[in-house]
Symmetry: C2
Subunit: 465 residues, 2 copies
């Protein structure tokens, strides 16, 4: 949490950031190093990081070296992993230690995830013993758990301290801890026994002991809790930070609200990617190379290709009907397209509802029933329109039987699409899979198979073929 | 921000919440009111609200009246709007004033949005003058702006105060302000001149004046800034709160980090709904009635139905080719399906990239080019497989010309689908529209038209018809 470094007074911050980027490159090209320093002095670390990222790679190291030591660490933490990695490979030995040793352990753990193992072990050797231990601690936990996003930089206190003593202690510790608004009270074996906020300290008499003013029943999480659940807890209870304990309930770290915002954003991106049938692995899609991009998209496409061949084979098997009434082929895109769209709508609202917990009050049965009725309603409206359109399409020759086959199929397909679209995410969750895997492309393709089967059977029945 | 009210020590909070809900109903049925009080004593306001929501409506008021006054307000703020509204209609005159007068002005403004205008004006009359003014202030701003999500309950101070005087003042003000971790320093005309954190106060000498310790360059926003931009600023700079100023740059409120989490979640839901072709209006989809549901879905479906009729008409016009080579119809779902899926993948990553700003470093041209190459790559893989499948499908009779038409069409369609999927969101943004309107169903349907045109033209060319 930074709060004393808010520095630029401007509404159109975006333009300002672009101006800094372009000025920075010009000054570096002129080798005007003092100018660079003056330019960057009032700029926020996150904005400096963005400006450095936009530089040609040979200038990035030069610009970075012009920062003072404290600022350099803040800026480094905000850089993209690719730039962090390229810089670390160019750094001198001492620079590596200066930067990496002072990064916060959770950011450092993220960096190490991205670096080659050989580089990591070389750097780990050079870290101070405490920092090495803190990093090892975080790296030991599964990805996407509380253990991985927590920081071990919190303030822990003994319960017999007075308010005055605590304030003294904070004054000496504050620069090293990420967040000083909550402090954690622990016993001899580091078990969490209470929580005290800075607000509590200010509001109580100096001679009170922490034991008397602390909140004793604390919401905490274990290191293996999924990061999304951690985020939901912080969101639900409007917390600024949440303590993390190990299996023996000893305090090992805290998760802060700013990390939670990033977690929720990352989870939303993963859901959105899944809905679009793109697999995600937490990397920035636009920074990965084309082969990674193809790999992340091809799996789903192959599954869908296979499903589409089923639809194709079904249509292929209808050669007798199609030869007699060729125009039937003209309605295939309309029928399977609309079915796919209605199915996508249902799966979208159910998947999002499951992900934000909005759906929890209603059971699966109620939701699927509601969607079935909605699908029927929509099918009736669209089926009527489709019948009229089919009737007046030149190729059908005002054939009422063909037109009615189209309309009736559309009603049946819409209802079934809504039912599948809403039921499949529940089914997936029941099976322990991610409901978001029921993506728009998947539902669309699944409904295609169903759609052509219904259509040709209704047409055969009505045309008497 | 609640922090002293963290009360339940349990990992499986979800089960616990369900237990409270069921126990609550049993105790109310037994008319055991003391039992209810004892049950709810250690439960968080947000969890009590959930338990009350799950009760039959005639019990909700009874349960609510058993809460003590302070807790009642907290619980009321966490209730769904439908329950808030039903309670307010059953409240006695004095209860309305007790609850609504003490709600925080931003929550109250949200409630008033949902209530009938006549009820609102009746309640506004009964509020205390200050609360009425605070609510009117917030209700005067456009929806989804900083003005609407801000709270006017912040601490503002004059710059000649000392640290000691400030701490004294906070002790008397704290219970009434939402967040005491930042305090705002203003001049005679309420212009924002600096910011002081509780941390600053604790770390500095008691005799220092605020003028000397405050941060003078403050990030602030105007009341009309879009709530999503406000959220992105707080996220970018890791802030706990952000001051809001009016046109004359006078401080009028603050936006806190807990509101930002909700804003980002709401914006993600809107994006996801748009991607699934469901329009959203901020209400909970699962609490609206079926006609609203149908209305929110039918518009897009009608647009797509129209587009599908175009695809249908194109196929209808190919009667001569289809009569000669009926099996061509069998590949329509495969070709347009795969095209739609690849287009959806491209639009999904671009829309999300635009929404999270991850894409900003690369220009549109670079992104579309990358996607085109990715589409070509994917098309080559899938085209090869489709050719082989088409060749061995019984109905094609190992016709290599038909099989090759399918494969070549698939390569062309994949590339074009990627280009449209990635270019259309940029185009929409340029036109001032929401890029998320380029939903999966829309891309799928648009690519259908393109797909059948390409397919039949390639087939005609290769078959010489």
């Amino acid at each position: 949490m930074s709060e004393n470094t808010v520095t630029v007074k401007n509404d159109s911050r975006h333009e300002l950031r672009e101006l800094v980027s372009s000025q920075l490159q010009i000054l570096l090209e002129q080798n005007n190093l003092e100018g660079v320093k003056a330019l960057l002095l009032p700029v926020q670390p996150v904005d400096i990081a963005e400006a450095i990222e936009s530089l040609p790679s040979q200038m990035q190291l030069i610009a970075f070296r012009l920062l003072n030591k404290t600022e350099a660490i803040d800026v480094y933490e905000h850089l993209d992993y690719t730039v962090q990695q390229s810089l670390i490979e160019q750094f001198k030995r001492q620079e590596v230690i200066d930067i990496v040793d002072k990064m916060s352990p959770d950011d450092r753990a993220h960096l190490f995830d991205e670096l080659p193992a050989s580089v990591v072990s070389r750097i780990l050797e050079q870290l101070s013993p405490e920092e090495r231990q803190a990093t090892n601690l975080i790296l030991g936990y599964e990805e996407d758990t509380a253990g991985r996003i927590m920081t071990p930089e919190y303030i822990s206190l003994k319960q017999n301290l007075t308010v005055e003593q605590t304030l003294e202690k904070i004054r000496s510790l504050a620069p090293n801890s990420e967040l000083v608004y909550y402090m954690y009270v622990v016993d001899q074996s580091r078990h969490l026994v209470g929580i005290v906020s800075l607000r509590d300290l200010v509001l109580h008499e100096p001679q009170q002991t922490l034991e008397n003013i602390m909140t004793k029943d604390v919401i905490y999480v274990k290191t293996d809790m999924d990061q999304e659940e951690v985020a939901r807890l912080i969101q639900r209870y409007d917390l600024l930070a949440l303590p993390v304990v190990d299996k023996e309930l000893r305090l090992v770290g805290i998760v802060t609200v700013d990390d939670v915002i990033d977690v929720l954003e990352q989870e939303a991106t993963e859901d959105i990617y899944a809905l679009g049938a793109v697999s995600s692995d937490g990397d920035n899609y636009f920074q990965t190379n084309l082969f990674t991009v193809a790999r992340r998209r091809v799996t789903w496409l192959l599954v869908l290709l296979l499903t589409n061949t089923v639809t194709g084979s079904i249509i292929g098997a209808q050669e007798d009907v199609l030869t007699q009434v060729t125009v039937l082929a003209a309605f295939i895109p309309l029928l399977i397209g609309t079915g796919g769209n209605i199915g996508t709508q249902s799966s979208t609202v159910v998947i999002r509802g499951l992900s934000t917990d909005e759906i929890s009050d209603l059971g699966p049965a109620k939701v699927v029933f509601r969607e079935a009725i909605a699908g029927l309603l929509l099918g009736l409206i669209l089926g009527l329109l489709a019948t009229i359109w089919a009737y007046f399409l030149p190729q059908t020759d005002k054939n009422i039987i063909v037109s009615l086959s189209v309309g009736i199929s559309l009603i049946a397909i819409s209802t079934l699409a809504s039912i599948s679209g809403s039921a499949l995410p529940f089914l997936f969750r029941r099976l322990g899979l991610d409901p978001a895997l029921m993506s728009a492309p998947f539902i669309t393709t699944a409904v295609d198979v169903l759609g052509v089967l219904i259509y040709f059977n209704i047409a055969r029945l009505m045309l008497g073929i």
